[in-house]
Amino acid sequence: MNMIQTIDLTKRFGDFTANDHISLAVKEQEIKCIVGENGAGKSTLMNMLYGLLEPTEGKILIREKEVNLKSPTDAIANGIGMVHQHFMLIPSLTVFENILLGAEVKKHKCLIDEKTEIAKIQELIEQYHFELNPMDKIEDISVGSRQRVEILKMLYRNVDILILDEPTAVLTPQEVDELMVSLKNLKKQGKTIVVITHKLREVMELSDSVTVIKHGKVIGNMETKDTNEQELAQMMVGRNVILTVSNNNMVDEQAEIIYKADNISTVNIFGKKVVDNMSFCVRKGEILGIAGVEGNGQSELVKIMSGLMETTEGTISFHGENITNIWPKEIRNKGIGIIPEDRYAQGLCKEMSLGDNIIAGYHSRKDVCKRGILQRKAINSKRDKGIKDFDIRVGDINGAVAALSGGNAQKIIVSRELTANPDMLIACQPTRGVDIGSIEAIHKHLLDYAKKGNAVVLISSELSEIMSLSDRVIVMCKGKITGEIEPRDTNMMKVGLLMAGIHEEERNE
């Protein structure tokens, strides 16, 4: 029996078609993977199945009956549960409160019966062999545990179809393995599972069948056993994918150290140490990669490096000068460029024009600002030069940044930071959510820049990006450096262990 079937499902936003006549079927008790590049329309499809978006055209059939899903409540009533990529949990509430949110057990008609609730959840946890304590607060538990809470939240609601959106994006390789075991167990217990991903290794290991989506269309439906990683990758991207750029620069090991962080630490809002005694240095002409599972202190490290967060201890020096805790403006004036983590929050202002964005951070420089007055003409010529040199595709040259695609918006930042000609560049997630063409271009810019004798600190959660671009990689886990590796002669297995915080020495013992 087909648990889920879609027939010509279409979703349009204005004149942009996110999903174009998608037809697929998920059989009972199978694990189905839906793969595609970022922006291919996977999330839109899932949001329609979960009632968060209404289809423009087409039908959704659940257990071979047509349904009209108006809200997540409808979806749950039809036995569909979803685990979102960004967890839908309330950090200040406990595990059991989160699981029972919307399905509270009451006593005396209006008060919440906490005792019964805890007992119920304990039972549920044991039933599925999950490792969790119902009394823990969400803000205190690991990302992997949070994901288990999300899954339990759905299981408690008696769903028999589970949709997981990019479930492995935030997990260590070891946690990924645990998740796979859990999912296979759930399948044995009779659940049907749909996983959205773009990681092909997981598809091959986990799924029974695969659907490939590209540009909002279904490119292929097949049994996993009839295909392989290369074929899937080709279908996803539409051509051979080998990362075409890789780092061939040879760094002089005696080159001058220009940036040095010495025992730096900081704490988050809850007073927890999120960057813990980190020390590293960057040499001229070198690309230093910082790898790690998301949420292990990389964001905070970048914030410290770019002046958005203060350290509790430790010092940072640049060209031998102490620059600890100076402000972002001064950091740029010292000659450090920054590509921030969150493009639209920190890097660009969507509602402002291209020109205004291309001078941001450098708007006090003499070439664009004289006696406190901005020089429009100089700004416009700077903008035009950036657009030309970095091949940025814009519709309306006077328009706002909001009209640009992710890749072109990111190129605005890259152009801004590189034309200021800094000695060092901090690049944080430089290619997140960017199309393949732009990824290539940005990678090339970074390599060329380093080749000229400048330094780059590259922070990325895409391990392949780090491994192919960096000269040297340090791995972070829980705010600590767990190891340093040479990307050219290290295998992924070792990196995975470091990312999970397991040192080689420990393992040998």
């Binding site: 942009f16 922006g39 402000w327 920190q346 007055i373």
Partner: protein
Amino acid sequence: MNSTMSSKIIKIMNCILPVLMAFFVGGIVIAAIGENPFEVYWILISKALLSMTGFQNTLHYAGPMILTGLAIAITFKANIYNMGMEGSLLAGGFVAGILGAQLAGIPAIPLKFICLAAAAIFGMVYALISALLKVKFRANEMVITMMMNYALAKVLEYLATTVFRDAGNGYVCTPIVGDNAMFARIFSKSRLTLFFGIVILILVIMFVVMKKSRLGYEVTAMGKNFEFAEATGMHVGKTIIKIMLISGALAGIAGGGWMLEDQYRYTLTFSANPGLGWDGMLIALLGSHDPIGILIAAIFYAALKTGADSINMYANVPKEIISLIQALIVLFLAVKFIHEKFSFRRSAKKVKEA
């Protein structure tokens, strides 16, 4: 180009529509007390805008409002809700009044300069307190300034009733300012004075500051995206202090000017109800924080105020109806009834998908 044109029209419509809606509700109220709203509104417009004297009076009232409007705009635009301009205005007015009376012997031009400069400084000092509490202590600026306004009004009331009281008068007030301190009227019939020229000069300066300067750029960036402003190195704390100081100075000058061109002495109803500072809020919102918009909005609103005196005289409607209409305009201005460019939202959606 076409799309920016249409978005401008939508912007203007979003300012005009709330005004019409407020007048509509106001009209219902007028009708409810048994008067003809059309007649009342006609008196209002004809007396305030269509007669030369009326129009000059309108400009006269618009002067301080342009300044308080600018004072609000520069902070609101940066998403800093400084409500302290009412206090700055009172402080500025009070000090200008006292100096104008005490130093009456000084020649006209230096005396006016001293009074206005002192007004600006007092306005700035008053604003600086809340700015520092905001920046150094992270206290919510709106709550702080509202409480400070109340405390300041009490302090000034105390000063006006004790130390600086004009004993010769039956009601609580400070001594009248010297002739040298008063701005003379330009025309014999209307109340318009040269202070309006100063206002226009300040407006031009503020136009450059808000539209062309680095500070204006930073204020815009802060208003649109605080995190972006911080991450790209605009020292937000310092900028907050700067704009609060500018805001305080503008409101202080507004108070000083209002003292020297209209009131001549500090009374307990110096800034009327709901206060010139509050008028500034309406004007800033109505003019969408844009200097030109503020000029137009201030003239429009001053016309309401001048007209209000006339409806009190010629129609049987209390002029307090204007306060109600004012409040309703602010309320309706808080909502964008027509959404800007549909394509704008779609492209934002596309980005999310990516």
